[in-house]
């Protein structure tokens, strides 16, 4: 009877996962979607604890350990998730993802041990398929774990980008090594498999490190999404191992959806996944290298002139970018907006989907400083409105306003839809120098007659603008 109810609960949980994920992909229902999936998960967890019966019909034991672990994990997890700063969220996700990967790997380790001892240390009669699944769970889980840790380190600046010539070759060799060793273990069932198993674990962990290491820090969201889908597959291995439908469906769901999401993320940046993984560009380190090839002349504007232009405009459009996030200037920016609005100037924000370093970065950032939701225009809307805009203020954005994306087929960002700010009457660009942005390429916008540069750190510049405005 218990087993029947458990089955049905698992079915329900799987359905909540699917509908939850579906709701998550729509702004209006996203939050409820997350809660739906969470409710299903909670149900599945407690049902497992109380209703699960092993193949021998015995219920689970060790309740004190189980609840102890759940409690510790829940408290630490909640605190960490609540405390983390908005901008540090992607690294938090990476950390949690790594935990999931490690969990899958640990399960494989224990189950391998069982299998090993069940055969009395002689693997000749081992169930090959079971072994294969255990090894898959081990490899994928470990890669996901160590890779996520590196990604986490990169995002919070603890780990620096590191690549050497031929790194790609070394990576390819190591993954072949891992795959080869695993295949050989399954096919050959060698007597000293116990040791090979731990060698495999080590190799997989190392591969995770060397896989993520050379990829530029700014590409980490894509990498995390990929590792996320890895962990999903690792969880699904557990599903096969225990003939457990909910692990299977949940894992595969995330594996499939995560892979598609990774591809969608790359698409939004107009790059291919391969391009991201091989890391052909994207390292922040490279940004300085390609700068200032064409030169040309640009106009500077000083703070008081800039303040004047904006104060007497009808409509100002703010284009935030990565620089705004780095300078943590979102609050001052909101101040500026309010001051301008108080003077009767219409102020809006034009949000490019890949501005910043993670999808939705700008929305989250501006929401944090209480900017009203209906002031944020999506790219298409914004592009319709630039024609009727007097002043565009570009704050630490670069690639997302680079006209080369439309005009220069040789450019690495060619084809990416951009914010067409050059249609406005005046464009004021704030950044610290003439250095290029993420993609490492020159921006012709800066040299156009309607554009003026306002150099300086975004926060500082906005504060100066603000005090000028108040004195007008």
């Amino acid at each position: 009877m218990e087993a029947h109810i458990l089955t049905i609960i698992y079915l329900l949980a799987s359905i909540t996962f699917i509908t939850g994920l579906k709701m998550l992909s729509n702004p209006a229902t996203a939050r409820n979607g997350n809660l739906t999936a969470a409710a299903g998960m909670g149900l599945a967890i407690f049902a497992t604890i109380f209703l699960y019966e092993g193949s021998d019909g015995k219920p689970l034991g060790n309740y004190e350990w189980i609840f102890g672990g759940l409690l510790i994990g829940a408290v630490v997890g909640t605190l960490a998730a609540k405390k983390v700063k908005m901008t540090a969220m992607p690294e938090m996700v990476s950390l949690f993802n790594g935990m999931g990967g490690a969990c899958a790997a640990l399960i494989s380790i224990v189950e391998f041990d069982h299998l090993w001892h069940a055969e009395g240390g002689d693997p000749v009669f081992m169930d090959r398929m079971k072994l294969l699944i255990i090894l898959l769970g081990l490899i994928i889980g470990s890669v996901s774990f160590s890779g996520s840790m590196i990604a986490w380190g990169k995002l919070n600046g603890k780990v620096k980008d590191f690549a050497f010539k031929g790194q790609q070759v070394v990576n390819n060799i190591s993954i072949l090594l891992v795959a080869g060793l695993a295949t050989w273990m399954v096919v050959g069932l060698p007597g000293d498999m116990y040791w090979y198993f731990h060698l495999l674990l080590l190799l997989a962990l190392l591969y995770g490190v060397s896989f993520v290491m050379p990829i530029g820090g700014a590409d980490m969201p894509v990498v995390i999404s990929l590792l996320n889908s890895f962990t999903g597959v690792a969880a699904a291995c557990g599903g096969f191992l225990y003939d457990n439908q909910v692990m299977l469906t949940g894992g595969i769901l995330v594996g499939a959806a995560g892979t598609l999401l990774t591809i969608l993320m790359c698409k939004a940046m107009n790059r291919s996944l391969l391009n991201v993984l091989i890391g052909s560009f994207g390292g922040g380190a490279k940004a300085g290298a390609v700068q200032s090839t064409t030169g040309g002349t640009y106009k500077e504007i000083n703070v008081s002139d800039a303040a004047m232009v904006m104060a007497y405009a009808n409509k100002v459009m703010i284009v935030p970018g990565y620089g705004l996030a780095v300078a943590q200037a979102q609050h001052v920016c909101h101040e500026l907006e309010k001051t301008l609005e108080a003077r009767g100037v219409e102020v809006k924000y034009a949000i490019h989907p890949v501005a910043g370093r993670m999808p939705g970065h700008m929305n989250v950032l501006l929401a944090e400083s209480d900017v009203s939701y209906d002031k944020l225009l999506e790219m298409e809307q914004a592009n319709d409105e630039f024609k009727t805009t007097d002043v565009v203020l570009v704050l630490g954005a670069n690639d997302v306003v680079n006209p080369a994306a439309k005009t220069d087929p040789a450019s690495p960002i060619y084809g990416m839809p951009i914010l067409e700010v050059e249609e406005a009457k005046t464009v004021i660009v704030n950044k610290r120098s003439m250095k290029p942005g993420y993609a490492g390429i020159e921006n012709q916008l800066f040299f156009q007659p309607r554009t003026s540069m306002l150099f300086g750190d975004a926060k500082k510049a906005l504060q100066d603008l603000l005090s000028e405005l108040k004195s007008i």
């Binding site: 189980i66 997890g77 949690f96 090959r128 557990g238 989907p353």
Partner: protein, 102 residues
């Protein structure tokens, strides 16, 4: 090879479930606007925390004299819970940000 065939046949329904789930996963996400990429990633991350169920089974079946299994199982439960709970909470926080002023 024939062992693989046989295994697929014996687990044919599981294989079907996997294949169908791949379709579901891909279709369900197909239309997500890019603003939601990060919360969606985070939500998916929490869902694969379902691996915790495996950890619970491992833990619950470990015999009480098998210290390594107990320790590893316990660790697995803690890590899995971190994944699940942290994942859902952080996703909720992100989404809260988005909807604040609506």
């Amino acid at each position: 090879m024939s062992q693989l065939l046989q295994w697929i046949s014996a687990h044919q329904q599981m294989v079907f479930i996997v294949v169908l789930m791949i379709f579901v996963g891909i279709e369900v996400i197909g239309r997500v606007p890019s603003v939601l990429h990060t919360p969606l990633m985070s939500g998916a991350n929490a869902i694969h925390g379902v691996v915790i169920i495996g950890a619970i089974i491992v833990m619950g079946q470990a015999s009480s004299d098998n210290i390594p299994a107990l320790v590893l199982g316990f660790l697995a439960v803690v890590l899995g819970t971190l994944n699940v709970v942290g994942g859902f909470v952080v996703t909720d926080r992100m989404l809260e940000m988005f909807r604040k002023k609506k």
